[in-house]
């Protein structure tokens, strides 16, 4: 009997250890990221890192300015969201409220295909197909622009936005919708006055997670945005090349002597990226939990 209890206890501890591994992983990730990132500030003032407008990592003297990269990430992400949020929410409404169940059963996996396509395939597609199209239709000097990156990222963020919004919309209790219809509202009035507002928190969580997905995407943006480290204007910057934080890391990390200031600067960029997505995740989960329908 004692033996059995001992065994039960042992198993519980083992399972707990597995769960705790996730916490440990996150903890180690912070430590290793921040440790190498902070080493930059031994030789390079943090104020310059935050305010310098230039990124010239191999010049004399070096410039490790965060701003052009941070704003580059921002403009590409904003563009992606402007593109994918209306499209994604519209699709989610169509799938959950309008489409014949048979059709939505086909549409759902079709949109999930977008989530399955690897980012490097998107990058390849963008580089070969979209870049020339953007250049020719807009008559601009190069097709490698923030806009091109935004379109590709927008497409990539679509499945996240669609599936979570769709969940939120379908979880709105039927009684509420029926009440509205019974009062003589049309189906559309019910959707935009009752269903969508009721699902708004889930939809905003979907948008936040879409933002997180877009800001962290690497290969696609590196292949299609041109990677010029200049502070983009808005909205004119959409039509010019930009460089994101993620692209900078992937572009330069392979070619940096380990332990140099440049190496640490890339970890500092990585830390900023991590903190940004961390905050986005917290907000998204907070919204999701706070306003979840209790059925």
């Amino acid at each position: 009997m004692l033996n059995r209890q001992l065994k039960e206890k042992g198993i519980e501890s083992l399972l707990f250890a597995a769960g705790a591994a996730a916490v440990l992983a996150l903890f180690l990730l912070c430590i290793f990221l921040f440790k190498d990132g902070l080493l930059l500030f031994e030789n390079y003032p943090i104020s310059s890192f935050l305010t310098d407008t230039k990124w010239y990592p191999t010049s004399e003297p070096e410039h490790f300015g965060l701003l052009p990269l941070l704003l580059g990430s921002l403009i590409v992400t904003v563009g992606a969201i402007l593109f994918s949020v209306p499209l994604g929410i519209a699709t989610a409404i169509y799938i959950s409220e309008l489409a014949d169940p048979k059709i939505s059963n086909i549409l759902k996996p079709v949109t999930e295909i977008l989530a399955g396509i690897p980012s490097v395939v998107y990058g390849f597609f963008g580089l070969v197909i979209l870049v020339p199209i953007v250049q020719k239709t807009l008559q601009i000097p190069t097709g490698q622009t923030a806009l091109t990156g935004s379109i590709m990222l927008g497409i990539m963020a679509l499945p996240t936005i669609i599936s979570i919004s769709e969940d939120a919309i379908s979880s709105v209790p039927r009684s509420i919708k029926e009440g509205s219809l019974a009062l003589g509202s049309t189906k559309w009035q019910t959707i935009y006055k009752v269903t969508v507002p009721a699902a708004l928190s889930g939809i905003s969580a979907a948008v936040m997670l879409g933002v997180g997905r877009a800001i962290g995407e690497t290969m696609t943006v590196m292949m299609v945005t041109g990677n010029s480290a200049v502070i983009p204007g808005f909205p004119s910057g959409l039509f010019a090349p930009v460089r994101t934080m993620t692209a900078t890391i992937a572009l330069e990390m392979g070619e940096v002597p380990q332990g140099s200031d440049h190496f640490h600067a890339l970890f500092a960029i990585g830390s900023v990226l991590f903190i940004t997505t961390f905050i986005i995740n917290i907000i998204a989960n907070y919204i999701k939990r706070r306003y979840r329908f209790n059925l």
């Binding site: 039960e8 519980e12 707990f16 705790a20 290793f32 949109t111 399955g116 690897p118 490097v120 390849f124």
Partner: protein
């Protein structure tokens, strides 16, 4: 007034339809370009031969093998860990600070950009633990990346097992672990495996983390140990599309590589999704 509302509805529904049509069009256009340009490059030789003449001819065999190794390595680490963690979270943990911390960690790991995992893998596995740029470092990095996916899917699977099963078993005096092992797990395993299959697609497609932890531009031999560097499909596609001396001529190989990668990832996803829906239907009955 009434007809006005009807008209609005017509317009709105039309717009919704157009939006959905656009999304579907994206899927079809991307698939069409890759498939129509890629299928002619694919042959038995293409998937079983080494690259030749500086990767302008020959196949992509080592990249396929490298990707298989990464899948095996990362699943072997992440699957047991993720499943055990999920069992803890659904069956044992009580609401409190510890559980909150674990849940929060999983959520944030899930949202962390893959390139950040790459940096972490570089700092911890490649440098600090001295595994070097290798299959081992890359697999461990990818394992962390897919851990949240596996945990979430496993949790979902465990939660679908009706409470009555557990209660009935416990009432018979069976211990908690025996109940989980003999009653809960058998019904939950298919769902848990679905999570693992889904994450295979993720492992096969990720580029940024392996770029920093061990993918090689070109290797003449297959890797001979877990400490070897490796070639992998997504990185190979990236290399073919941006480096090399004759990008225009190797276009068919690029499309072919993209298509093979797409086939692997989509097949895996289809298998996972159909297992899941099959299983859900069964459970509902």
């Amino acid at each position: 007034m009434f007809s006005n509302a009807k008209l609005n509805e017509k317009i709105a529904f039309g717009l919704l339809k157009i939006a959905t049509g656009m999304v579907v069009a994206f899927v079809l256009v991307i698939l069409y370009y890759i498939v129509s340009n890629g299928y002619s490059a694919i042959s038995i030789e293409f998937i079983t031969e080494m690259p030749r003449s500086r990767m302008t001819e020959g196949g992509i065999y080592p990249a396929i093998v490298g990707t298989l190794y990464l899948i095996i390595g990362s699943i072997a680490v992440a699957m047991p860990l993720g499943m055990l963690a999920a069992i803890y979270l659904t069956e044992y943990s009580k609401p409190g600070k510890t559980t909150w911390a674990i849940e929060m960690a999983i959520n944030n790991l899930a949202g962390t950009p893959s390139v950040v995992f790459g940096l972490f893998g570089l700092a911890m596995f490649v440098k600090y633990l001295g595994f070097g740029a290798s299959i081992l470092s890359a697999s461990l990095t990818l394992a962390l990346l897919i851990l949240p996916v596996i945990i979430r899917a496993s949790q979902e699977a465990l939660l679908t097992v009706p409470k009555e099963y557990r209660e009935a078993s416990l009432a018979l005096g069976v211990t908690k672990w025996e109940t989980i092992r003999k009653v809960v797990l058998p019904s939950a395993i298919p769902g848990m495996i679905t999570g693992a299959i889904l994450s295979i697609g993720r492992v096969a497609g990720e580029t940024a983390p392996i770029l920093l932890t061990g993918a090689a531009y070109f290797l003449p031999r297959l890797p001979d140990s877990i400490y070897s560097q490796f070639m992998a499909l997504p990185y190979h596609l990236y290399v073919l599309a941006t480096s090399g001396t004759s990008i225009a001529q190797t276009r068919p190989i690029q499309y072919g590589t993209a298509l093979i990668l797409l086939i692997i990832v989509l097949c895996v996803n289809i298998v996972a999704v159909s297992v899941r829906s099959h299983y859900r239907k069964k459970l509902k009955r």
